[in-house]
């Protein structure tokens, strides 16, 4: 069991997502920065489908009833046990010891993994919270969460994974609806800089900048995925994240590659974002590199 002393603002339990009920309109949910959660899990020796805590807001404190290995990952994250320790590395924590997870000024999402994983009851095949439909709930001070079994010990601490470089440039493949945009509009999309808007959340990152309106407005509702860059009639793009509706009615000019979705999710309102066009091979190489980076041991 872990006991939450301070819960941040809208922290939730998340795993890699719920993909078995998309056809019932159930969004995948899961970590908004999937690589950061995967890294935290890998650092503590968890399976890839283990659940962790996605922390939103500063000040998250907890204690564990058992000695465990923990790790935090995300943009500009660190933690304090007896001393301040960097993120993206594993730390051994004794039973009862208080742990504080620190989010920096530019952290949107921090991920905490505990060896054994957060063992809440899966719903529809996943432990991911999707709060709008009552799947899971926002964590509060005083909440307790069960942990899975773990045989990790102090010797499993001090592993490290190279943190993501959270810069402004993300890679995207054109389409699938790029033919609904004039060529100069598409070119502008891949050349220009956008600014992240405050209304961004787990559903999507809203962008401002020179409008890139499609030729024709809406299209028949069509399935979408995380990373899809939807462009509503006004020309202000939205990059879909984990909590996206399963279908959308706007043309998708480009799709952020899987390896870079976390970089989009972690941009703060007011920060810039640029899209660099890549082909599928580069997207696959990036995914392989990511998978490789997770093999700590």
């Amino acid at each position: 069991m872990i006991r939450i002393i301070d819960a941040g603002l809208r922290s939730t339990v998340q795993d890699r997502g719920r993909f078995g009920h998309l056809r019932s309109g159930v969004p995948p949910a899961g970590a908004a920065d999937p690589f950061a959660l995967a890294a935290a899990n890998a650092l503590v020796g968890n399976a890839t489908d283990a659940a962790g805590i996605e922390i939103i807001g500063t000040l998250f404190r907890f204690t564990s009833d058992h000695s465990r290995v923990i790790a935090v990952a995300g943009r500009d994250v660190s933690l304090t046990t007896r001393s301040r320790l960097p993120g993206w590395s594993s730390v051994f924590v004794r039973a009862g010891q208080t742990v504080t997870v620190h989010s920096g000024e530019r952290t949107r999402f921090a991920y905490l993994a505990v060896s054994g994983g957060i063992a809440t009851e899966p719903v529809l095949g996943s432990r991911s919270s999707y709060v709008p439909a009552g799947l899971g709930a926002v964590l509060r001070a005083g909440d307790t969460l069960p942990l899975g079994d773990s045989d990790t010990g102090a010797e499993d601490a001090a592993r490290r994974i190279e943190p993501t470089t959270y810069d402004e440039q993300v890679r995207a493949m054109a389409g699938p609806h790029d033919d609904r945009f004039d060529r100069d509009v598409s070119a502008r999309f891949f050349d220009g800089a956008f600014v992240v808007q405050p209304a961004s959340d787990r559903q999507g990152v809203r962008l401002g900048g020179a409008p890139i309106a499609p030729r024709a407005g809406e299209l028949l509702s069509c399935g979408v995925i995380a990373g899809a860059v939807q462009v509503p009639r006004g020309g202000a793009p939205i990059v879909l994240l984990a909590d996206h509706g399963t279908t959308g009615g706007y043309p998708v000019i480009a799709t952020v590659i899987a390896a870079d979705i976390g970089k989009v999710a972690q941009r703060m309102p007011g920060e810039s974002l640029r899209f660099r066009r890549v082909e599928r091979d580069e997207a696959l190489d990036a995914l392989r590199a990511e998978r490789h980076a997770l093999s700590v041991r």
Partner: protein, 213 residues
């Protein structure tokens, strides 16, 4: 348009079957999705009116290969055997017609409120697909006499259970959310229950009727 398969990022494909609503196209989309999920078992699929998104793990199945499989499905969807299913279920939605857009929609359609309620509730709809949010079924088609363009300004909050119409379609908002459909009434019936054996009240392919209360 000629149906086609286009990449949707590195781990999904978009199968485009057309650009406008046609009953037989919706059916094709559903068959392709079912085949991808249940026969190929490559990953989840999301069918909609005239398209299907097919997902797969690109580190397990080479994207070019996935594309070949998808194109092959597209080629023979016409001839795919429709698995004999149980007779299509009829789902009845008890509805109180007192929505904030009822009077205005009647007026736009040059109908009385009673006529509008009768036109909406006497018709049996088909649930074409689910999307947008858990349990939201896109049902149609509305009687063409009902003028149902979307609201110019979407509401910031549509209450859960709202029975709504838009562009020839009708549906029920399972949860409170922003929305641009016109609200004709409401139902007390829960549209999504994650604890139930069948979490959604309306499944794709169901027949749907709204029963005035």
């Amino acid at each position: 348009m000629t149906p086609r398969v286009v990449p949707f990022g590195e781990g999904a494909l978009l199968v485009e079957l057309g650009t406008e609503f046609q009953e037989n196209v919706v059916d094709r989309a559903r068959r392709i999705a079912g085949h991808w999920e249940n026969i190929f078992t490559f990953g989840p699929a999301v069918p909609a009116y005239a398209s299907v998104v097919l997902r797969f793990d690109p580190l397990r199945i080479e994207p070019a290969k996935a594309e070949t499989f998808a194109a092959e499905l597209l080629g023979r969807v016409e001839f795919m055997l429709v698995t004999p299913t149980t007779p299509r279920r009829l789902v009845e939605i008890p509805t109180t017609y007192d929505g904030p857009d009822l009077a205005e929609t009647a007026e736009r359609s040059q109908l009385t409120v009673e006529e509008l309620v009768a036109l909406h509730s006497k018709r049996e709809y088909t649930a074409y697909f689910l999307g947008f949010m858990p349990g939201f079924a896109y049902c149609g088609r509305l009687d063409p006499k009902i003028v149902s363009s979307r609201l110019e300004r979407p509401r910031e909050r549509v209450p859960a259970g709202s029975v709504a119409v838009a562009d020839g379609q009708t549906g029920v908002y399972p949860f409170a959310s922003p929305g641009g459909w016109r609200l004709l009434g409401r139902t007390e019936l829960a549209m999504f229950d994650p604890g139930a054996a069948e979490p959604v009240r309306i499944s794709a392919g169901d027949r749907v009727r709204f029963v005035p209360q």
